[in-house]
Subunit: 399 residues, 2 copies
Amino acid sequence: MVKIAILGLGVVGTGVAEVLAQNAEKVSSSAADEIVLKYVLDIRDCSGSPFADLVVPDFDRILADPEIRVVVETIGGVGAAYDFTKRALEAGKSVVTSNKELVAAHGYELLTIAKEQNANYLFEASVGGGIPILRPISQCLAANEITEIYGIVNGTTNYILTEVAKGVPFETALKDAQALGYAEQDPTADIEGHDACRKICILGSLAFGQHIYPSQVPTEGISKITPEDMLYANSVGRKIKLLGRALRTDSGKIAVYVAPHLIHTSALLAHIDGVCNGIDVRGNALGDVLFYGPGAGKLPTASAVVADVIDCAKHLHARKYLAWSKGGPDIASDPGTLPSRWYVRTPKGGDKAFGPVEHLSCEGQNPDHIAFLTGPISQQDLAPKLAAANACCAFRLLD
Amino acid sequence: MVKIAILGLGVVGTGVAEVLAQNAEKVSSSAADEIVLKYVLDIRDCSGSPFADLVVPDFDRILADPEIRVVVETIGGVGAAYDFTKRALEAGKSVVTSNKELVAAHGYELLTIAKEQNANYLFEASVGGGIPILRPISQCLAANEITEIYGIVNGTTNYILTEVAKGVPFETALKDAQALGYAEQDPTADIEGHDACRKICILGSLAFGQHIYPSQVPTEGISKITPEDMLYANSVGRKIKLLGRALRTDSGKIAVYVAPHLIHTSALLAHIDGVCNGIDVRGNALGDVLFYGPGAGKLPTASAVVADVIDCAKHLHARKYLAWSKGGPDIASDPGTLPSRWYVRTPKGGDKAFGPVEHLSCEGQNPDHIAFLTGPISQQDLAPKLAAANACCAFRLLD
């Protein structure tokens, strides 16, 4: 029997308790042991919860209980979550989380403590919700040098972009996303790409073995994308999606960024709509594989957390796969030097500075604007041309 | 240092040796140990191969060498491959393979021997080529009751269907597939669905924990699909794809079959073209996740084999995840009882027996035929109507 505690009875924490209860038989069979939820840490009134009997208000009681071998951190953020995770690992307890902000900020430190204590720190649910992605990267692709990883890693913005592409105004799509529970009341972290940034940091750190910090990742959100841009994109068989992308450059360094891209409909990613996520991993032997599924949601996320709990229960005295080194400024390459073709929209006459371009047209286009596709050019070289043309927006083409 | 042997220096065997050599650093780092290829078993003249120095002609030498801890079986078929695998496992050596025919036929027996000997029998590459699928099913989805698994699991037929949909005649598409190395000289196993049948047997066995044998799986290939059927499908926003499908029915039994399906383009599977594979797994907590990538090919398949070799090297004295029970006739439910909507093409006037149907039309349609979509009906109940109407073909709609 392996006893566990859940820290924080919010949406994901409640989902974890529910999956443990509902799928108890499958969970025990997978773990080859019974997994018992002993405590739930929360300081709010949880009297309405079916798990109210398990609620304790202070972490020290969980920390001091030697029966607790695995702690599930579903608090979020980098405050109490960081403190409790660190202390649990230092006490030799394994920790499982869906907290991408904490892993992106302190993953190297926490993984190092876990290693020292022969405990595990697992966070499959921190990227792609219920989609298996971190474990496949480290285990199934173990024979590959990974050259690139990119994808739709934020369900909220993908939902909004999908709705806007149908003709729904941005503000309405955002309000719908909030009403459906996809977006927070303050949607900044999603809309401005910060959430996607944290996730591509985790994916890149694992794929390339060096901690990539959010501060190293140029991040652009979706607020500049208009319905007109989507129509222009459609006119050349493309969709606009927000991607996180990490790749090894010719110099051996790693370029990481978050930005909208125009993706051709011949690529599967272009067809990933709504709150779903899709992540493409490219290996030197394998080529491209893509992982698709629900990128968020209570039960999908909880199911990934519980899979990690099962893995911890099976490896109470053995280290699992996750590890990367400290990173640092010298590993990062400026993505501004990466050449690609670009979609550009400018006031009329703004195309002159860009050399030969492919002009676009769409139904109901603003007569004062023009839109076109450039040839391959780096962002650095593009920037002065965009400034000279007083450009409205510029988005990369994915291949 | 872990020493291994490859049985059979064909396409996949050569690929395994190449990946081990080319990605030696990554492989050693992933395994936390050096993996050394000591022998290659082949009885043909391999003097032109870069691995010629390692070739031995008799299996007994490999079997008798206590240094060999992992054996890679890339012989194929159920003859020597079965014999050698059994003897290697009985000798306590772990075995890794891409041989779907052997796993589908004898997986339970071989997994049982592996368990008795505390060795591993791993076969990630047997389904979906380089796509991580078996490990995610058993590890990442460990907290889920899997309710259904289905997908495009044969790259050759998917290539042919993709070409035929572009207007290429079937025979030309088949010849191209052979020229490109996708199809065998005798393409029966692909075209008639036998290869897909073996793969859905393996997926279903793992997902539901009971060995499903190919003889339990009604299997229909792609030879009845015409370009006209594809045009009719297009007219209602659908594509025709060959799917393997395994699901738990209300009775708790498992229904498994292989057949062409009309898939709506709102589903990602409809956009999987060429030799690629895509597999959808449905869990009770997770919902649907999809795994996509190269379903065949020397290096992708080899990269999955080498990932399994790494896993064996890391678990020389521990059992890995793969296991299922013996199965038997009482676990199988007749897929003929599963209701679905159907696409039917008959000679003119053949729609009368089917009740209210949705008639289809397409460009250049044969004036002597009609095509329509039925309401939900089981295959058993459909069969007499098809016979009465002298129907040309009938394919299920996926949802």
